[in-house]
Symmetry: C2
């Protein structure tokens, strides 16, 4: 061992001990007769001091070291004359007696500090240096702690962690698979799992009763800011349960994590049907840290000659408390914001509920003070508030209002990163119509059970069938989702039919699962948590990249190791593959 | 919830309670007026009884159920008249009041019992049914328990579990990689990791200090009985440590696992240099549950006119205690066994040390009783023992003797599956000459540090350089292996040179690692345990397949899901790939 103690370990009680520490040079200060080194490792920083009593040899070596050198220091623990209350080792320092340079260091391309000067691209290229920064290390330590706390909790609930295969087969349903050519089965391919869905269901059929796994999953998607081609799930499945049992169990896990990791008691997990979430929040993942609910005005705002409203399917808005004083410029900015292509609204109507009780709106031409008062009543608005109203196609308008609500919530500092508001969104639609392919898609996945009372609608009005599916949402982020599964091969076959599979296709792709149902399948249900998102939520971060040790960039590249990269002709020959011009 | 209790939960104290159980029908016995059902789930078996008081409705439903049906039973806990001491629920039974069939079951293709009638291929195709068997389930529960115990132990030692990427890049050194075409980077490929080696070293450079991960790794090899294309490692790395620290830490883990999982105190972890292991056991993974050491006779057996010996580089043998009475037939069988191509020996000489003190050998023509007595003394043989001697090229002969030793150990019942003898094999050679490529290969991997005192030999006699590398061996199985790493970019560059890399190749493949060394790398070392093998050792099994939920067969196929399989032309087009005739 190159040390007797870590750099975060020594305290005032250790004064007088002779110790050996190893670590990185964080900082050197030369004050003439005395030099100070801040020596850093994962555990902390300890001050090393050289003074007039330090040997010539050590002084000579000292003169050669610089930032990020790895050194080994031998010396005696002394009480500091000027103590540093900000760090746990701040009462002591090590009077240096021996010094060895273990590794030299070139000047790092950016400073190894919490507030580094390194840009994103540079920090990714030198990720091993970026990972030296305390803020980044803490995120990964948090991640490890959350994984272990999750495992301990689920183990205590009789769940068995079971590894499922990574080399499986490709299924065209859903997102694109990454595929892996098989050398010993020429012309054939494995695929990397988008989730262990089928395997966990088979484990239920096998009688495992309660399964979980913290597991890597893969999706070959065009990447966005918070997506990675490989991501980690807390994947779970239970037998002989109903929806309520799953919600209870995973409320339990979530509460336990908040308690153990953040010391927060989270008690309420309200349940909101999908339709209500859309209606009130314009989103199936509502941020409930603040109210500012969407209210519909379709009934009362039509018929006053304002063509935009009169021709709209839907009129609705939100009430921004205390914003009646917004300037022309502020209102224009909001209007421009909703007109951006990402939101795609046609315009934004405002109604100021002035503190004197009067109203001033952008539609005063069409609506009297009395009309606007009625609107204000709908919103429970008070003098000083600002109503923001949009109209158009109902689903688009609700979505745009949902986005505006989030923007206003942020602008008014109603979205506090240290407050956590979980909820369950339930009663999702089973199917959604896909215009492009001209068929229904499973909103969750094809194994999701319809609500028994809605099964008759499968033939008459498929879009009205509700699923026994649920999402856990915290602070507007979808943390987990799952469903009660179909466990009857006839119903499963019918489902595949609704999704446009021929009997042969269903048989070819999922035959083994439908076959398995024939040998006694228990009722079962499950859920998967997006572990990267859960950790980033706990860390108070916006991006999942900061909680992944070696993330890929938006082009799916690891710029540090330069991956993906070319392979040799021999490798391709062995696999029986040739690269061709890509067809556009 | 479909149950109030599991099938392993109810005891005599629960008599009188009304309960609901769900599970699989293990067995039905109809004794005229009474019927008994053994109801099974993961937790146990509970007896359900129907008698003359059972309702007509229940009796009708009862008549329809068969083996492996999933049913829900409602009833009252009663004390059994004839108790079953073999199962924890054996004192009670449930007098049935209500019965619901949750799922019907076709007759399974093999019986769901510990001693099933299903062949290997059939059980793999219906793995979800095979996994219902208690013996198989117990292996996977053991695996889960071992994983969690490992994690808890390493966490308690300040290790941080950190996920490393699965989509990395291909490196030609070592075994073949599985590669993954990248759609958004046409013509480029990811590769699946054979181990997280480089990433864990980067984590040390990043200051993580202690890393571990229970992680899937991948190797595209031609498969043998106990190999899988995807396998699981307990992968670890530590900073500021020397070899001794690693051995201590992982002895600690191993002892902890034996204690916690099997209730066994394993105390001794002898350390044997590689050269001694080869000399005494003919293997770098000696089974030390029994002695029967190899002894060299080269010095004393040459020069008696026996051409086979006189022309041999090496003569040596083992002493099989108490086997002097072996018949001609038994000795012939042994001779034929060592001549099989897998062993490849030319022949086998025997010397019987008769109980009357005389010797009888297959080389009596060349050696006197006195000569043979000298041999016997070398082996510390006693009257009644049998010496088995081989000769030839030294490494081949030692290997063949090692195999013969294991065979004799098995034959003499010296290899007890409930006894565990761990040891460390240390001081491995750094390099081994590869005839085919005409260059040195790294015996462990290219990042392994030579012993400092052997560095001068790197230029003069590379094959003599010993590495700071070590293997943990238990009962003749290599459970783990690792090394102290090079942490100096100049030495690493020299190593790549010795391995035949040009500077450009080394730079292209490992440039980022050598570059990382320039920014202050700590001394570091690590180890990886083969988790599948460790679990199968603990389970007393010979194959790792039995401790994997969904293993692949010897052709790398999952016969249950029929993977690998063909993909669509669209998928290949998107990836810019075409399947060509494989070049042989």
């Amino acid at each position: 061992m190159y040390r007797t103690h870590t750099c975060g370990e020594l305290r005032i009680e250790d004064v007088g001990q002779e110790v050996t520490l190893s670590g990185w040079v964080q900082r050197i200060r030369d004050l003439g007769g005395m030099s100070f080194i801040d020596l850093r490792d994962r555990y902390g920083i300890t001050q090393i001091v050289a003074n007039e009593g330090t040997s010539e040899k050590v002084v000579t070596t000292l003169s050669k070291i610089g930032r990020e050198f790895v050194i080994q220091v031998n010396g005696v623990v002394k009480e500091r004359s000027s103590k540093n209350k900000n760090i746990p080792t701040g009462e002591i320092e090590i009077e240096i007696k021996g010094l060895t340079i273990l590794s030299k260091a070139s000047l790092p391309p950016f400073t190894i500090k919490d507030d580094t000067d390194g840009g994103d691209e540079l920090r990714m290229k030198y990720r091993y240096l970026d990972l030296r920064r305390k803020v980044v290390q803490e995120n990964l330590i948090l991640r490890a702690k959350m994984a272990h706390t999750t495992r301990s909790y689920l183990n205590s609930q009789e769940f068995i962690e079971t590894e499922t295969p990574v080399l499986i087969n490709s299924t065209p349903e859903g997102a694109r698979d990454f595929i892996v050519p098989s050398r010993i089965n020429p012309g054939k391919f494995y695929a990397l799992p988008q989730s262990p869905q089928v395997f966990k269901q088979l484990l239920m059929i096998a009688g495992f009763d309660r399964y979980y796994q913290i597991v890597k999953c893969f999706r070959d998607e065009d990447l966005r800011a918070d997506r990675q081609p490989e991501f980690t799930q807390i994947d779970c499945e239970m037998s002989f349960v109903e929806q309520e049992d799953i919600l209870d169990t995973f409320e339990g896990l979530t509460k336990h994590l908040f308690k153990e990791i953040k010391g927060i008691e989270v008690t309420e997990f309200p349940r909101i049907p999908y339709s209500e979430a859309i209606e009130k929040y314009g989103s199936d993942k509502p941020d409930t840290r603040f109210d500012m609910l969407i209210h519909e005005l379709t009934g009362i705002a039509k018929g006053n000659g304002f063509v935009v409203f009169d021709s709209a399917d839907y009129i609705g808005g939100i009430c921004a408390q205390g914003c009646a004083g917004y300037s022309r410029k502020q209102l224009d900015q909001l209007a421009n914001w909703v007109k951006r292509p990402q939101i795609g609204a046609k315009g934004l109507i405002y109604v100021k509920y002035n503190t004197d009780g009067s109203f001033k709106s952008s539609v005063d031409k069409f609506y009297s003070q009395d009309d606007l008062k009625k609107w204000a009543e709908k919103f429970n608005a008070r003098p000083g508030d600002l109503l923001l109203v949009m109209s158009g196609n109902d689903s688009h308008t609700l979505k745009a209002l949902g986005e505006l609500r989030l923007k206003m919530g942020g602008q008014l500092n109603l979205r506090n990163n240290n407050e956590f508001k979980p909820l369950w969104v339930i009663d999702f639609p089973l199917l959604e119509w896909d215009k492009e392919s001209g068929r229904y898609h499973a909103m969750h996945h094809p194994f999701t059970s319809p609500k028994p009372e809605d099964i008759p609608l499968l033939d008459s009005a498929p879009e009205k069938v509700r699923a026994n599916a649920y999402d856990l949402v915290i602070n507007g982020v979808e943390i987990g989702g799952g469903s009660v599964r179909i466990f009857d091969s006839a119903l499963q076959a019918k489902m595949f039919g609704k999704l446009g599979f021929t009997t042969e296709q269903a048989q070819a792709q999922f035959g083994f699962l439908m076959n398995a149902f024939k040998y006694g399948a228990p009722p079962h249900a499950g859920i998967a948590f997006g572990f990267d998102r859960l950790v980033s939520l706990f860390a108070g971060l916006d991006s999942i990249r900061d909680v992944i040790a070696f993330p890929k960039n938006n082009a799916g590249r690891d710029v540090m190791i330069d991956s993906p990269s070319e392979v040799t002709k021999e490798q391709l020959d062995e696999l029986g593959l040739r690269i061709i011009q890509k067809e556009d």
